[in-house]
């Protein structure tokens, strides 16, 4: 195994950041100019949005269930089991809904994008596309970016709803709370800032998933082994970035809304 010099390593990192920034810039700029590949956008919306629906629904629902169970144990000590709805709703809308949906969609779609584009890269299909006069960023990256940002927003809303429904199911069936109490406390606890925070996060997560998935796919080298490597790197990098950006957005929202 050979070691590279610190200088070469630093240069490679700077080059990667530059390459990623260029990909992001070009993908965004392509939204505002023609040609636009609307059919590809809808295909990706179907694949990313509708395709991710089952895992998002199941993850959201069971997260809500677990949250209600765990919350009830702690709240019981203070005689505040009735507050379960508030805790579940706030947690799902502000944090768990956006983050878990982002992570699930990242696991499913960042890997899918990296492997699909990676396979195209190693089989020279990306070069063929360029040779045929098509910009791969416009044809492949921009539709995935638009579709992921758009669909993740709605998937997060669905996940929030399923999580609250899961929490309500556990509260009513196992904790013997009234459904109306659960939903009322939950509804009353939410403020404008909480909803804005919960709905802003998927916009960032969607951007991260699409750009990182495509970035690792388009820089794939080394045949099938390289495709596997890119897929793993895409999932790891996008998952870490989603949590990091979640922290930054949360900090920003606390600064803006004070909670």
């Amino acid at each position: 195994m050979s070691f590279i010099s610190p200088e070469a390593y630093a240069k490679s990192i700077v080059a990667s950041v530059q390459e990623y920034s260029l990909l992001c810039g070009r993908s965004i700029a392509n939204i505002f100019s023609r040609p636009r590949y609307m059919a590809d956008i809808f295909t990706q919306m179907d694949s990313i949005g509708v395709g991710s629906l089952p895992i998002v629904v199941l993850t959201g629902f069971f997260t809500g269930c677990v949250l209600a169970l765990q919350a009830a144990v702690s709240l019981k000590e203070f005689g505040a089991v009735n507050m379960t709805g508030e805790l579940v709703t706030l947690s799902m809308v502000k944090e768990l809904g956006p983050v878990l949906t982002g992570l699930m969609v990242s696991g499913r779609n960042a890997s899918g994008m990296a492997s699909e584009l990676g396979s195209m890269k190693v089989s020279e299909q990306i070069d063929a596309m360029r040779a045929l006069g098509t910009d791969p960023y416009r044809k492949l990256v921009t539709p995935r970016l638009v579709a992921t940002v758009f669909m993740l927003f709605f998937l997060t809303i669905i996940s929030d709803a399923c999580g609250i429904a899961g929490g309500a199911f556990v509260s009513v069936t196992l904790l013997k709370l009234k459904a109306s109490t659960f939903f009322h406390t939950g509804y009353m606890s939410l403020e404008h800032g909480d909803v804005v925070e919960g709905l802003a996060k998927p916009l960032f997560s969607g951007f991260i998933i699409a750009t990182i998935g495509c970035y690792y796919g388009l820089r794939t080298t080394g045949g099938t082994q390289g495709v596997g490597r890119s897929t793993t790197q895409a999932v790891v990098a996008s998952s870490v970035m989603i949590i990091l950006v979640d922290f930054l957005v949360t900090q920003l929202m606390i600064g803006i809304f004070g909670r």
Partner: protein, 278 residues
């Protein structure tokens, strides 16, 4: 076959008799290793330039440089008189409308069937769907593969994929065709079929082309055969004749070791070259 992109500038350039492709002292390397070193050559209008050389000599890289898919570290590449390193990506896309390229492993789009693969460029150019269908059939007829129009690349043999790739490259009647090892990895019979198509394209359309091969027999087939339009098959040029528009370029270790005609190559006194061609 009808032309897709009419460009008065390109037509004017081709009529001027200047070289269609011109490499001027081009060098490129990766990770400190120089793959092509000070490469200079010209390809004239209507010429078929065969690029020969051992594997790993930078032949495929040369092809990608000629289509602007990679930029050189130094030197200049002019295609249709325009300097590729100075062109923006959008200008390169416009230039590539006049260039057809056949990739080493065909590079057909897996998710599209044969019809959509061949029609890809025309669909991008928003050509009328009825005309697209006619021209796809015409291109597939040229490569004798009309029957596979509805199949996907994974359902085709290696030779069929290569022929579909040729159909995709010629559908817009390009002014320059780049063949990157069109017979690589194919059996001798299929290779002959592919070479027949290349000769047919050369003799019917007189398109300028650059062709990479490491099969010497394919290179000499190109130089010594012609397409008989009446009998619709390839035949040897009578009296041991040689196609005058076919020339050779031999690369070794990133350097040009030969640039000349078929006769000059067969009569070379260079020991390495003699050993290579024998």
């Amino acid at each position: 076959m009808a032309e897709t992109v009419e460009s008065p500038e390109i037509k004017e350039f081709l009529a001027s008799g200047q070289p269609v492709v011109e490499f001027d002292d081009v060098s490129i390397g990766f990770e400190g290793h120089e793959v092509l070193s000070h490469v200079s050559f010209k390809v004239a209008y209507g010429e078929t330039r065969i690029v020969l050389g051992p594997a790993g000599g930078g032949k495929s890289l040369l092809m990608k440089l000629a289509n602007g898919l990679i930029k050189p570290d130094s030197g200049n590449i002019r295609v249709f008189g325009r300097s590729l390193p100075e062109m923006t990506e959008n200008e390169l896309f416009e230039m590539r409308a006049h260039v057809g390229m056949v990739f080493q492993e065909s590079a057909l789009f897996d998710s599209l069937d044969v019809e959509d693969n061949v029609a890809y460029r025309l669909e991008e150019e928003k050509v009328d769907p009825k005309e697209i269908r006619e021209r796809v059939l015409e291109a597939l007829r040229f490569v004798e593969l009309e029957q596979v129009i509805d199949k996907f690349p994974s359902q085709l043999s290696g030779g069929m994929r290569r022929r579909v790739s040729i159909a995709r490259a010629i559908i817009s009647k390009p002014d320059l065709i780049l063949y990157d090892s069109p017979t690589g990895g194919l059996d001798p019979i299929t290779s002959t079929t592919i070479m027949e198509l290349v000769i047919k394209q050369r003799d019917v359309s007189h398109t300028t082309c650059l062709l990479i091969t490491h099969r010497l027999q394919d290179a000499f087939t190109l130089a010594t055969h012609r397409f008989n339009s009446q009998e619709k098959k390839m035949e040897r040029i009578p009296d041991n004749g040689i196609d005058p528009s076919t020339k050779f370029l031999v690369l070794n270790g990133g350097h040009i070791v030969f640039d000349g005609t078929t006769l000059e190559l067969t009569h070379t006194k260079d020991p390495w070259l003699r050993e290579y061609i024998e």
